[in-house]
Symmetry: C2
């Protein structure tokens, strides 16, 4: 009895601390990068003692991977039967933008790792591979069925992925856009989806 109660308390406390570490790490990795973030910073941010990263995760690297373990891109929960590629593509863009806006820090981290082709990328690829494979299949089906027109699937993948993944989180363009009326207004999810969808579909010369 006593033991069981202790066990539960431990469990709860453990989850709490682990989550606090993960939250702090996500925030710091996004802003400082993996190498630029120290275990001390993570623990300070989480408000826990230095030793707990090693205790719960066994090192900084495992904290990093744990960030992506829990990640199940909602994207793939939808059904894509490829009978109507344009409709599938619209759904895909919608879900991707939803993912990007709900987890901007993870997208940010992912981007950094891709840029530097980090040794940690292999595991991240496992997460993203199904997503890019789906995109590939949608594009290919769309071409075959005449809904999209393009010559090179490879080039198309790159420009489309570039458009999708490019983060609006970083505000480096802001100083340039301040003078524009209404530009400082926070854009809504629907707005971004509509805009991105239109741009990409136009880019693919949809009839």
């Amino acid at each position: 009895m006593n033991r069981k109660r202790e066990g539960m308390m431990k469990q709860e406390a453990k989850e709490d601390v682990k989550q606090k570490i993960l939250d702090g790490a996500k925030h710091l990795f996004a802003r400082k990068g993996f190498e630029g973030t120290t275990v001390r910073q993570i623990c300070d941010e989480a408000g826990v003692a230095l030793a707990l990263v090693s205790y719960h995760f066994g090192g900084k690297e495992n904290v990093f991977y744990a960030l992506f373990d829990s990640l199940e891109p909602g994207l793939l929960k939808e059904t894509y039967d490829l009978t109507d590629p344009e409709s599938d593509f619209r759904k895909f863009i919608l879900e991707f933008v939803r993912f990007r806006m709900s987890e901007p820090e993870l997208i940010n981290i992912l981007q950094q790792e891709v840029m530097m082709q980090s040794p940690r990328l292999e595991k991240l690829q496992e997460v993203m591979f199904p997503v890019w494979l789906l995109l590939r299949n949608i594009l290919q089906a769309g071409k075959e069925q005449g809904q999209f027109q393009f010559e090179s699937l490879k080039h198309t993948m790159y420009v489309v992925v570039g458009t999708l993944v490019y983060s609006r989180t970083s505000s480096f363009l802001e100083p340039l856009l301040e003078s524009i009326p209404g530009a400082s207004t926070k854009e809504s999810f629907e707005e971004v989806v509509a805009y991105t969808t239109q741009y990409i579909l136009n880019g693919l010369q949809r009839k």
Copy 2:
């Protein structure tokens, strides 16, 4: 006489070592990031002694900035009079892709820094600001003259910059594209320019 000759020799040797350090640093920053790169690695890569980074540049940070000091994006050397925005835009894309393909590592580094909104970004902004300003003016002129159709300049800036800047250097999509016939062929400069131009202009609903 003797002194003068010594001075020249020093100058030559200095330039040589400085350049070797810059080259090594560029390569390493692109692959490991600023924080992930050590001065030791830079000097090993350059084949010089550890102390020389401090001697010539006064620290790692200044090596970083020096990488962008010498950078004059050829982009801006062209003339853009905005009387024919579409033509200007095509020229802009051409020059931007040329820049991206000639300095992939700098683009890579720039992207990393933008992602993490690093404290070094301020100086990098100075380099890129004129470029994005020019793009903004071209888009705005094109809209006013009816060559481009879009509602929000802000959104348009983001999707276009995303398309332009997204690096094809990183090969994370390769495993997905291997099965495609001809995909492993190295794409040519002209090919990438043509493709990017078409995608973006279509995206802007050019008539």
